[in-house]
């Protein structure tokens, strides 16, 4: 049987055109699960955790409310980091043609599903 978290990550790649890699990490930067091939999940987890913590401070400094998502727009794709509750975060690597509408539609459900599963982790 497949791990449900892994299934969610793989299905995100199926449901949103342009999603190429995803890494689910703890807020302290450790890999929980990854659907990755070209990126190094351990490094991605550490960097995404650092980025989102900087993002929180950025939002604080700019008094722009709570951070929802952090996007690095690059010439050949994007990296989008979203908080998954207060324990984890999801880093998604996409190409430049990503279906942004589908991404925005799918990501709240994905985050919610992941949050529910991770909440069951007690030991």
């Amino acid at each position: 049987m497949n791990d449900p978290v892994q299934d969610i990550l793989v299905s995100l790649r199926d449901r949103v055109m342009g999603v190429s890699e995803t890494v689910l990490a703890t807020v302290d930067g450790l890999v929980v699960a990854a659907d990755a091939d070209k990126t190094h999940p351990e490094s991605m987890a550490a960097l995404a955790a650092a980025a989102i913590s900087l993002g929180h401070r950025l939002a604080d400094q700019a008094t722009t409310g709570t951070l929802r998502q952090l996007t690095a727009q690059c010439s050949a794709g994007h990296v989008i980091v979203t908080a998954v509750g207060n324990r984890a975060l999801l880093a998604v690597v996409t190409d430049e043609g990503v279906d942004g509408l589908a991404f925005d539609r799918e990501i709240p459900t994905v985050v919610d599903d992941l949050k529910k599963i991770l909440a069951q982790d007690t030991a």
Partner: protein, 264 residues
């Protein structure tokens, strides 16, 4: 001129109506993928969708235009719609070549949009579009899509499934004698097909058209160099807050009972 959307049962019918009325505007298509169809005086002059690479991706990912030249052309303050013409003016791209790429991208987007049924559409005022000089009557898009779907599988559903497939290199792809007998184009494609990418993903990676990639993938599948991917997944670690392990659980205790032995 009225901006009312003509009643139509599908996108080709809508485009035909816009063609008959020589209308201009943008048709926003919602769906998976959705897209934007740019219409000028009834002719289709551009189409953008996440389902197929646009002109910018075709130029940059194929390294036809370098990132630096692209950024420099944008920095001239030219209207984004005239960016292609700016590249031509700077001698970086032929005007006819731009038209070829514009047409190729347009037909490719039309093909990508034809693989799934749209959720809906609405007509808006004209939207910004990178001008390439392409202007296609909508009936040509329909005949070309029919030809493309017939070439791949004779049936839209099977073509749409192929478009979602993530082909993997077959064992034969590791045989240098086999790969040496491929065109450079097919060899490059073989390295991009890694079992994770759909034809669309490969098209974006290489800066080639979706339909062109699907045709070349079909060649490689027929040669037995590609296959459908296998699924291998592993478990995951817990995210529960870590507590130091106590000494008693950290070191496993030898079991009092001996291991079971099989009796002959």
């Amino acid at each position: 001129m009225s901006q009312e959307t003509p009643a139509a049962r599908n996108i080709p019918a809508l485009l035909a109506a816009l063609h008959a009325e020589k209308r201009s505007g943008a048709v926003l298509v919602s769906g998976t993928p959705g897209g934007v169809i740019h219409v000028r005086d009834g002719m289709v002059v551009g189409m953008e969708t996440p389902g197929a690479p646009g002109v910018e991706v075709l130029l940059l990912k194929s390294h036809r235009i370098t990132e630096d030249d692209w950024t420099a052309a944008r920095a001239t303050g030219t209207d984004p719609a005239r960016l292609g013409l700016e590249l031509v003016a700077q001698g970086l791209l032929g005007a006819r070549e731009l038209e070829v790429i514009g047409q190729a991208a347009l037909f490719d987007a039309a093909f990508a949009l034809a693989l799934t049924s749209p959720d809906g559409w609405e007509m808006t005022a004209p939207r910004p579009l990178l001008d390439t000089g392409a202007a296609i009557p909508p009936d040509r898009l329909v005949t070309e899509n029919t030809r493309r779907i017939r070439l791949l599988s004779n049936e839209r559903g099977a073509t749409a499934r192929f478009a979602r497939d993530r082909p993997d290199p077959a064992p034969a792809a590791r045989d240098p004698q086999r790969t040496a007998r491929l065109s450079p184009r097919h060899r490059t494609l073989l390295t991009a097909a890694d079992g994770r990418r759909t034809p669309r993903d490969i098209a974006f990676t290489l800066g080639r058209g979706l339909f062109a990639v699907m045709l070349d993938l079909r060649d490689l599948l027929a040669l037995g160099l590609l296959q459908s991917p296998s699924v291998t997944l592993a478990g995951r670690p817990s995210t529960a807050p870590r507590t130091p392990l106590s000494a008693s659980t950290a070191t496993p205790q030898p079991s009092a009972t001996p291991l079971p032995r099989r009796k002959p």
